[in-house]
Subunit: 494 residues, 3 copies
Amino acid sequence: MGNCIQGCKDFFSRQKNTNIRLTLPVVCFFWQIAMIILFGVFIRYDEESDTHWVETKAHENITSDIENDFYFRYPSFQDVHVMIFVGFGFLMTFLKRYSFGAVGFNFLIASFGLQWALLMQGWFHSLDPHTGKIYIGVESLINADFCVAGCLIAYGAVLGKVSPVQLLVMTLFGITLFAVEEYIILNLLHARDAGGSMVIHTFGGYYGLSITWVLYRPNLHQSKRMQGSVYHSDTFAMIGTLFLWMFWPSFNSAITDHGDGQHRAAINTYLCLASTVLTTVAISSLSQKTGKLDMVHIQNSTLAGGVALGTAAEFMISPYGALIVGFFCGIISTMGYIFISPFLEKTLKIQDTCGIHNLHAMPGVIGGIVGAITAAAASESVYGKQGLINTFDFTGDFKDRTVLTQGGYQAAGMCVSIVFGVAGGAIVGSILKLPIWGDPADENCFDDEVYWELPDEEEEHQQSIPPILEYNNHMIHKQQDLSESNFSVEHCES
Amino acid sequence: MGNCIQGCKDFFSRQKNTNIRLTLPVVCFFWQIAMIILFGVFIRYDEESDTHWVETKAHENITSDIENDFYFRYPSFQDVHVMIFVGFGFLMTFLKRYSFGAVGFNFLIASFGLQWALLMQGWFHSLDPHTGKIYIGVESLINADFCVAGCLIAYGAVLGKVSPVQLLVMTLFGITLFAVEEYIILNLLHARDAGGSMVIHTFGGYYGLSITWVLYRPNLHQSKRMQGSVYHSDTFAMIGTLFLWMFWPSFNSAITDHGDGQHRAAINTYLCLASTVLTTVAISSLSQKTGKLDMVHIQNSTLAGGVALGTAAEFMISPYGALIVGFFCGIISTMGYIFISPFLEKTLKIQDTCGIHNLHAMPGVIGGIVGAITAAAASESVYGKQGLINTFDFTGDFKDRTVLTQGGYQAAGMCVSIVFGVAGGAIVGSILKLPIWGDPADENCFDDEVYWELPDEEEEHQQSIPPILEYNNHMIHKQQDLSESNFSVEHCES
Amino acid sequence: MGNCIQGCKDFFSRQKNTNIRLTLPVVCFFWQIAMIILFGVFIRYDEESDTHWVETKAHENITSDIENDFYFRYPSFQDVHVMIFVGFGFLMTFLKRYSFGAVGFNFLIASFGLQWALLMQGWFHSLDPHTGKIYIGVESLINADFCVAGCLIAYGAVLGKVSPVQLLVMTLFGITLFAVEEYIILNLLHARDAGGSMVIHTFGGYYGLSITWVLYRPNLHQSKRMQGSVYHSDTFAMIGTLFLWMFWPSFNSAITDHGDGQHRAAINTYLCLASTVLTTVAISSLSQKTGKLDMVHIQNSTLAGGVALGTAAEFMISPYGALIVGFFCGIISTMGYIFISPFLEKTLKIQDTCGIHNLHAMPGVIGGIVGAITAAAASESVYGKQGLINTFDFTGDFKDRTVLTQGGYQAAGMCVSIVFGVAGGAIVGSILKLPIWGDPADENCFDDEVYWELPDEEEEHQQSIPPILEYNNHMIHKQQDLSESNFSVEHCES
């Protein structure tokens, strides 16, 4: 028994081996082949992307091709797609030597995740009971991207501290948990969450925080030298920030109702985000002695408004309501970076590389609450009779639901997402703790060197700083002269 | 009296204090709260973004949700949005140490400006006389972004020489002036200017030039070392250039008429910009002894064609007409960088950091003239009877206007925009001259250090140039050996 | 005779002169003026972008402006436009000192190319026999961008080794050849190739490889020090990669049939590309001793799936079919970088800077084969009767064609594109070999210095690495002390 415990201890504390030449290819190949087989069995084109569309059109009296859902949603889909790959990817390039890992692993796990998400979400939301098939269209692609977003948020918490294999495992389970909690929140509780304050951001945030809590590294300070940014890496990160910020109106409106639903969600998000920028700047400036701004805040907290309007964007929250949400989110998120993140790390042992607690978890919870309140306060006078039914989808089994009840279910959905995030993260974190995944040693965190062939920088520097080298060369000569003269002195001494 | 003058002099020449820890947060908070209150009083969803859309549809016999204006304009809106935040932001990152300020302050003032623009433009253009409300939809968002563009152009002239507080003040007044001149030009004079050659670019250009003229710094050469670019900052700037260039067809077509109007404006701008690139390259190459190209020209002058087609893009200028406009704009704008900018700085004391005179002011004036001529030359044989009415909106009060008269009013609009720019800029410049805004001293211009917490670069360089340091370390040892041997020599000497 | 040969030899081997101050401006001006004249003679707005659209609408019973082709294709057009200018441009910035040339020359030749393409494609595809005019709309713009893509692919092979004048010549002939082969493949053979596996990628790939083969430089190793990347240049290149990857679904669906055609092409490409990423990562990791990833593979091979689905994207290849194509393309393309590129360079003397053989030529051929097989395997049971006719355009002269015949013609199209690429490239390469185009010497390849005014970097480095310089300065003093002491020793010796 003692032996066993000792063996376990040895197993967990053995020298880190970051060689992933076996595990990474095996996981990639095996999973991709699994995807192909499962897609072969389950996934088909839906009626709007199938060549039979011409018959569907005739049958349903659709007069023009432009009424294909593709034209309602494709521009928003592409914006969301940019957010997932360029937005999340570049947002994480701020570390001085982890840009390849930030953009590259983001690319890898998103590409895997979206395939698995199409299957998981398909099984839960759109499996045809008669044919046993999942029919996909542009809305499925958006939902898959959304699902992936949850896992990329979680990546932000563990950025630089895990191997790509761990990330793939984290994504596999993350997508799975996502599909289940989404099913519970949207279908069973019938909560509304078009931009995913709860389903995406709260879940993703707590999932990541929980994982990084399990994977706590007491000696992370050993790679402290790598944990900062440099001037150009911060500029790269602003590419990510801006694409996320600009396209967030598309994110929140991508799967809302055709017509006024998409229109209103975009306007609300646009306004909310503008408001967030001003309060973020204000708090950031206040936090420094001379009023200087901190890039960390500008890169992250400016986005909190988009997160917090994820649920309520499609509601009649009214333009000034959107501004108010943004106002407080900018303050709270920036305060989070200043006060809460250090507290989490010191006291709760949560090492949150990108501060996802401030950008996703907290604003996500705020978004859930805002959504619940806005739903509970909805009235026929504001929405119109049909408008109320459309907005909250009070049809079928839910046709007698009141807005107050709806508010309650929204709050319940909020709790479900937190529970799934925390519990799911704890379990997945434990799996990731197994010392077989090739994660880096404490002193090699935040360093692309571990998983990437890096270009040899020497030559460039020889190019670009000739004066120094030249001077050094010059000194070598002098030195040699000196040595010789010394030698001669010594020589003559003897 | 003498005391007073002396006091004034002292007041204006006192030591620069760049501490903005009080002013910046106060301005941000106060203005954002004002926005919330004013939005609460005035701004509402328009009928296409309101839940009552379902009733509007029924009432107006609209058969499909796709006829919501959202689907006509949202893709163009997102392109314009990218131009405002990534385009303008990154275009200004060319300075070696002002990338944070370029992207970050651009982000700040655009976020404030668009809120204020929704109000100002609403009051002037779309205040409902019965309800006293402004109803906003996707077209309002585009117009707000356009309005902001005018102020961002002006930012280009003062880049690196002002504080963020000054920029916010400049934006507040800029948006206000913009809304007034726009009202005069588009509503009173009934000039057409869909892409804003006059309203946006001419006004914004002269507004900025006028401000920088008032804020003239005789000792700016003290920060000359910071006024150049470095290799990677020029590459970052190309991100801005390209997104502006690619999306300019969306800019010029975003608010033109549905159908052929948007279609034609996009085609014309696309062609015009392509033509500009070739002549820009030609002149840039001619300007150097060995025909080398200058990044400043490629980054800026290639965009002049888009500016110059802002008015005429929606007219039947014909494809080759668009090419001709682009042809001359590339030449004139590049010549401007080579000859006019140095002249403006030396003789007229106009220090124009980004050369907005060459990119916006001059091409904007050209655009106004092109618009006036094209309008005056319009004929029913080319446009068709209804086409002519649609294109120039010869309806209501203006239904009897001839194309010649229209040409005259276009030219008048041109003059209005120049007058507003120059006079407005002079007044606002004087306000900004007050020594309370925290602007940097002459020797600290173009330096992010003043307003941003900068990352500590030391460590990275120690990382990335080990050979040199290693060698240095090696030399220390040698040196010590030498010292010792020397010492021994001296010792033995004695 | 001997004299003549000697003269020729001298002519071809004379000292390289990279002064392009005469040739570049002359070519730019002359060609742009030619474009204006030809556009004046030939190019007009089509009926959907002409002010007569209001009459066309009435005549053709079109009920809404939204049925203008602009709204079907403009969002995709803008995505394609981003791929051409940011995608291709930034993908090539990976070299440490050729970012200006990569982005800048890409910008130049694309801007010229798209004008020439509108003419060439117009003459071949849409010249109105009655009026002798070419009528352009948004689909023409997309096709022009596609045509340009072929030449930008070829640029990838000769990146860093040619002058901008050579690039313009290469583009002039490339566009011309493209229009002819496209006419043969799409119109005469009636092959389908919406995303251009054959027409764009295979042709462009072999055109570039053939040119670089003719321009073989035996002493290219002399600029080997410039042929690598640095950390930030690789990060810039990822901007190009990601925008290409994300928008490839728009590329393959931009000109497919309205409705289900565009919808299905986007879904297929999205899936195919996701699959490619996983196998690229797997092979890249396998290729290194410790499983490290290589940025070259991630930047390039991840895109191979998009190329290979260019032909079949609009077919009913089914979601798992798309995944399978992506699966193999990731493997083959990455293998290409590891094994085939070195072989091509060593044995066949093909110096392919960006490895376009692995990213475009090979995957293009795969795409052609996949298209032929998928077409031959099409059945009425899968497509539906009308669906089959729509997808393969079995109308007019081709209304009796069977799918098997179609498969054969697809394969024939494939061969045509290879022949045009190889033969055309050989001829154009010979023209580019003339020593009048200002190409760089072997030791100056891959260096922006030759064609660009570069910023002076010295100052920045003095700024950013003070500790080293300081230390050096410190050493100077020590050194001097030593010298003096030595001197005193020597002095006392004498």
